[in-house]
Amino acid sequence: MAAADGGEVSAILRDLESLKASKSEIELRISALEARLQEINLQQPNGAVSNGSCAPLPSSVDSGYGHDLSPQMIYRYSRQLLLPSFGVQAQSKLLKSSILVVGAGGLGSPALLYLAACGVGHLGIIDHDVVELNNMHRQIIHTERFIGQPKVRSAAAACRSINSTIQVVEYQEPLRTSNALEIMSKYDIIVDATDNAPSRYMISDCCVVLGKPLVSGAALGFEGQLTVYNYNGGPCYRCLFPTPPPTTACQRCSDSGVLGVVPGIIGCLQALEAIKIAGEVGEPLSGRMLLLDSLSGRIRIVKIRGRSLQCVACGENTTFSKLQFREFDYENFTQSPLTPSPLKLNLLQADSRINTKEYKEKIDDGKAHVLIDVRPEHHFKIVSLPNSLNIPLPSLEARLPEISLALKENEENRGVNSELYVVCRRGNDSQRAVQSLHKLGFTSARDIIGGLEAWARDVDPNFPTY
């Protein structure tokens, strides 16, 4: 008997093994077919990139369980379904929702990853930029093999590899008043993950005109800010900031720096707020603002004003319409460009300037000169030209004696008149410095055109840029 039982047990085990193997093979084939169907649906009828058409999800049919989650979906999202206050209801809403993330950078990266993973049915990504090596420390959705390629393509590939069952739409273009209405109108919720003031006003105004909630995040240095605009009678961006700030108050990550994890935190919180709105759970951060000071480990949530009756965009008697939106000049309004590029000043006469190749010749010819580097000290510590003297621009006037001394020593040692050059990172502050130096009596001072970036580009390709 024992022998017969043993034989039966091993037969059952064999059968089980074989059935389990077939089951996982079938499941694999199901996933592959679903992904294929998804692709086909995306390609037609208007499936090309940048169309934004939202085809119905292939698997959103009644499963016979009283909701429209397929067995695959139940398993994939089970840990969210297990949350009593989220459950099938919120998950179904997420799957039916559409969210547009504007910007696939430091904020957009984590926001997109979580929105794709949690099952937002239709995810739009808009960005005009390409992936660069100096993005990688914070824009964690991109991988090294996408350097030089459009951020949108890279981000969409990452989203699809996390969740092949959602629809991801790519817009490889800058958001402008000319395309914003058309693109944004296709989505339920907008996530502002941009990096400049005019875009923030434009996106907020467009959300007001279209009646869409806006999840707005920002990060710089060690600090971050987060709030939800235009939601449930709450304020819009213009209610809070009716007048744009002076351009000098708008610092950028590429100038002031940012610790990578800080936009990461804010981007995650943006995903959270978007999920709350889409799933209709919890209390979205409307009428409140979260302020993160990561260095001191402080998070503050403050109460902000409600909708302003006088608001130009959403106020009581406003006439702000789609037409006006399309014609509004956000770059003029904020005095800054929608797709910022580094500032290029031109303050000096040609004879007060020298290009990097000419400066290289001066060095090679052994010309007596003093080189002043007017960048901040922490920039100077990253990299500097040999024999340069670091006098940050704000302290220039106070440290004039050092320049006089350097010139004098040079002249005594060499027995010839010493020339005076000024350099900085990109060639703007060096012009400002030369202007001051001229006024202060150093009339021979000249700036090195394009700064250290030009030096690296035109003279020494091995010179580090940052």
């Binding site: 400049n196 995040g217 920002a218 710089l220 800010q225 700030p245 990550c253 002031s256 000071d293």
Partner: protein, 99 residues
């Protein structure tokens, strides 16, 4: 009057990069109360070390700066006329645009 004045979003750069200031603001002899308007003038004289135009415009804060009294937008408490009380926390935050 003992107050805590905090700067953030880059405004601290105008005060030698110090974010939190525990200050004692003396009331003017005739005055009975201290308002935000008084405090702003006091801050401009006593805390701001450079580029005051990056903090104030006229007698108020410049556009793009949020003023918060005890974690509440000063638009809700009376703006310049907000009356301050002992141990209040007043925060000034410059709005960020980066991402």
């Amino acid at each position: 009057m003992q107050l805590t004045v905090e700067f953030g979003g880059g405004l601290e750069l105008l005060c030698n990069s110090v974010k939190i200031h525990n200050v004692n603001v003396e009331l003017q002899k005739a005055a009975e109360k201290l308002t935000m308007k008084d405090l702003l003038a006091w801050i401009r004289t006593n805390l701001i070390k450079e580029r005051p135009e990056m903090f104030m415009k006229g007698d108020s804060v410049r556009p793009g700066v949020l003023a918060l009294v005890n974690d509440c937008d000063w638009e809700l408490t009376g703006q310049l006329d907000t009356t301050l009380e002992e141990k209040d926390v007043v925060v000034f935050i410059s709005t960020l645009h980066g991402g």
